[in-house]
């Protein structure tokens, strides 16, 4: 069984992109990550079991983790692989996702004093966010460097809306409104792409209830 990987490559962020084909003989369980490991293409990878979010990319037009995409599940012989389009390309499939981390810093997502232990189930759900950026790739409202942080900012914020002491809540609510609530067009395009399986809709309803309508009890 073989696949032809049609890969968009780029030597550096400011150089021209080009396409290159690689033929790969695959076994039943092989993923796009397994194939990429054998190729001279630059990409980010780490856990290979969808627990780290490193290998986010666009496969046949939709965003996926390479380690979570079985070659045998893809129709046809040709597999089109591109870097995430919402972030600046560093080289080949490697993109610079530091704007995501910058947003969390700008939102001042940390605790100023001890956590209030409550609602650990919601906090656990939100902790699953890998900061991979797949949800941002499909979001019609997100662009790197913009104010709107998307669901990749919503999930970490939820952990704080949940556990932050009372004094910190107004600040967090303001940050949530500015970086999440105001920018979200509620298209919910991100609903089905989360590789960690976070129920984004449910989390969003809860966090907005807490931050916007101050209904913390529902968290």
């Amino acid at each position: 069984m073989k696949k032809v990987l049609h890969i968009r490559r780029q030597k550096a962020g400011d150089s021209n992109a080009y396409w290159e084909d690689f033929t790969y003989e695959y076994k039943e369980a092989d993923t796009v990550a397994t194939a990429l490991m054998t190729l001279p293409v630059v990409w980010e990878h780490s856990c290979l079991q969808k627990r780290c979010g490193a290998c986010a990319m666009v496969i046949n037009g939709t965003p996926h983790l390479a380690c979570d995409t079985c070659l045998s599940d893809l129709k046809g012989e040709r597999v089109v692989i591109e870097p995430l389009r919402k972030f600046p390309v560093v080289e080949d499939l490697l993109v610079d996702r530091s704007s995501m981390m910058n947003t969390l810093r700008e939102m001042e997502l940390w605790l100023n004093s001890d956590a209030v232990p409550d609602g650990e189930k919601t906090a656990f759900e939100a902790s699953k966010c890998l900061q991979c950026g797949l949800c941002l790739e499909v979001c019609p409202n997100f662009y790197a460097g913009g104010k709107f942080g998307g669901m990749a900012a919503m999930a970490p914020a939820v952990r704080f809306l949940n556990k932050a002491p009372k004094e910190q809540q107004p600040e967090l609510s303001r940050a949530y409104n500015k970086y999440v609530y105001e920018g979200c067009g509620k298209s919910l395009a991100c609903r089905n792409v989360c590789p960690a399986g976070i129920d984004i809709e449910k989390l969003l309803v809860k966090s907005s209830a807490a931050a916007v309508w101050k209904n913390f009890k529902n968290l």
Binding site: A29, E44, L48, Q49, L111, E120, S127
Partner: protein
């Protein structure tokens, strides 16, 4: 002499040990540069599943640090430094309570943290969040580090790779770093804490770890003359399975919650071999014991989770079930899961003292890259603890050493100190994988002297042939990375060859007994032309556990 207002500490690695070290320094007002190839979300710490140990004594079992200490020493076959383990276990409850104050969503019932059973421990001592404990701890410490980034105390350098330490006048004066985005190198002044993780990359595809964990930082430090200890102790986790490109871990929590190991007898009935041999606690024997039994058995072993209750699956292991179903197409609720041992943890590493000092003034190490708390076999739940406490302990040592003026001020490294560092070329891929295969063959679960000596001889011969073929003997360049890997590979094999006994994760077919005269730390060091080896015997009085 410098004071802490001008010294900036370089932390290598942004997993739990690195995050904990950076936070520990920042809280004490010391500036930090935090270097890592990836962001913390990609670190191997995120893969840790089962939990973190501490004698919180919340389960009505009358637990104490002393029992945690005893279990850790015994699990490690009395090879860990008892003073270090004492510190670790005494401080463990505070480490977990500190994490609790950071809002880590530990599993709770009626508002209180719940602890689960884990291998090699007599009491329920493992605090957890489903089987994603590593992930939630990384999230909490990343948040804390973010706070110090904002204040300017910590500066993060993601996509930056460690290349070498700068040694001046026998002092670690700084570090050379390679920026993977700009492809430039730079030196940074100041003490260095290595928190680079285990050596998975020495065994590609055979471990439960990450591909980001190449083992190169350790290999490079070894080549620079840093002492390493107990490299022969490599933990095979009994319940892993092969997936494409790596081994997938099935958390020990599955057995902590009631999972049972068995094989099919010839008549098709189940043989719960661990329970038959070790009694009702058989499934929770230390990992080295179970992996050895499985290796000797030589049959396909299964993990039976079908008797776990609905509540256990929903509240404690739902993520594990999802993972098994996704990667193995088996629903563990309904049918047994085939498992086999896989490389999971490196007990050995950079030799450190009780304060995590690594033998050269200004150099420290913490987390899996350091040989610290686990002796000949690590207990489940002690790695997260060891990484977080070890990182903090290293930070405290740096602060103490700065206050005491321990750094003579070897002189700031400058551009003249930048040395080229070359990486494995395509032409070297063959010899690299040849060495990796020989290393893996020599260091299976059950080892013997002839096989180990053969592996060393074959690697040396193969390497010499390669030098001749590639023209390196005529002065043509061979990569620095290959040289570092070659030396480090031999150090691991030599450590295993020289330990002529069986102890913990090191089982020798030719020396099946544990011998008193080998109760010691094996130390390897590259002296510039060859590997020095010595066994440092642990004094008799230092048994760690009162008989």
């Amino acid at each position: 002499m410098k004071n802490n207002t001008v010294i900036t500490v370089n932390v290598i690695g942004a997993g739990l040990a690195g995050l904990s070290a950076a936070r520990g320094l920042a809280k004490r007002g010391v500036k930090v540069r935090l270097f890592s190839v990836h962001s913390s979300e990609r670190a191997q710490s995120n893969l840790a599943e089962g939990g973190i140990n501490a004698s919180l004594d919340v389960m009505g079992e009358n637990d104490s640090w002393r029992e945690h200490f005893d279990d850790t020493m015994k699990g490690g076959c009395f090879l860990a430094d008892p003073e270090m383990v004492k510190e670790l276990t005494m401080n463990a409850p505070e480490v977990v309570m500190d994490l609790d104050r950071l809002g880590v969503p530990f599993h709770r019932e009626n508002g209180h943290i719940v602890q689960r059973n884990f291998g090699g421990q007599k009491k329920k001592r493992t605090a957890y969040a489903m089987s994603s404990t590593g992930r939630v701890l990384v999230a909490a410490l990343t948040d804390e580090v973010r706070k110090h980034e904002y204040s300017g105390c910590i500066k993060r350098y993601p996509h930056h790779r460690f290349e070498r330490i700068i040694i001046k006048n026998n002092e670690c004066a700084g570090v050379q770093i390679y920026d993977l985005y700009t492809h430039t190198r730079k030196v940074y002044e100041g003490p260095v804490i290595i928190a680079s993780g285990g050596f998975n990359g020495m065994f590609p595809g055979l471990t439960t770890g990450t591909t980001a964990n190449t083992g190169l930082a350790a290999a490079e430090l070894f080549s620079q003359g840093v002492e390493f200890a107990n490299l022969e102790f490599i933990q095979y986790h009994p319940t892993t399975t092969e997936i494409t490109g790596k081994r997938l871990l099935i958390s020990e929590a599955a057995r902590g919650e009631g999972g049972r190991l068995f094989y099919f007898k010839d008549d098709g009935s189940y043989c719960y071999f661990m329970e038959e041999k070790y009694g009702s606690g058989g499934n929770l024997m230390p990992r080295d014991v179970i992996s050895r039994e499985m290796a000797v058995l030589g049959r396909q072993v299964y993990l039976d989770l079908t008797k776990l209750t609905e509540d256990t699956w929903n509240d404690k292991l739902s993520d594990l079930r999802d993972e098994i179903m996704h990667y193995m197409s088996v629903d563990p609720k309904l049918e047994p899961v085939p498992v086999s041992p896989g490389i999971h943890y490196f007990m050995g590493g950079i030799r450190v003292d009780i304060g995590h000092r690594a033998g050269i003034a200004g150099l420290y190490a913490a987390g899996e890259c350091a040989c610290a708390y686990h002796g000949a076999n690590r207990l489940g739940g002690n790695s997260l603890l060891g990484a977080i406490y070890g990182g903090l302990r290293a930070a405290v040592s740096v602060v103490d050493d700065i206050a005491e003026g321990a750094f003579k001020g070897a002189g700031a490294p400058d551009n003249d100190d930048i040395a080229d560092f070359t990486y494995i070329a395509d032409s070297e891929a063959g010899i690299k994988s040849f060495m990796e295969n020989e290393l893996a063959n020599g260091l299976g679960i059950i080892r013997d002297g002839i096989k180990l000596q053969n592996a060393i001889d074959k690697i040396n011969a193969g390497f010499n042939d390669f030098l001749i073929e590639s023209g390196a003997d005529r002065g043509l360049a061979i990569s620095d990375e290959l040289m570092c890997r070659y030396r480090f590979t031999l150090a691991i094999l030599k450590s295993a060859l020289e330990r002529k006994e069986s102890r913990g994760a090191h089982t020798r077919r030719d020396y099946p007994k544990t011998l008193k005269e080998y109760r010691g730390t094996s130390v390897t060091r590259w002296n510039g032309s060859q590997i020095d080896y010595r066994l440092e015997i642990i004094p008799d009085s230092d048994t760690g556990v009162e008989d």
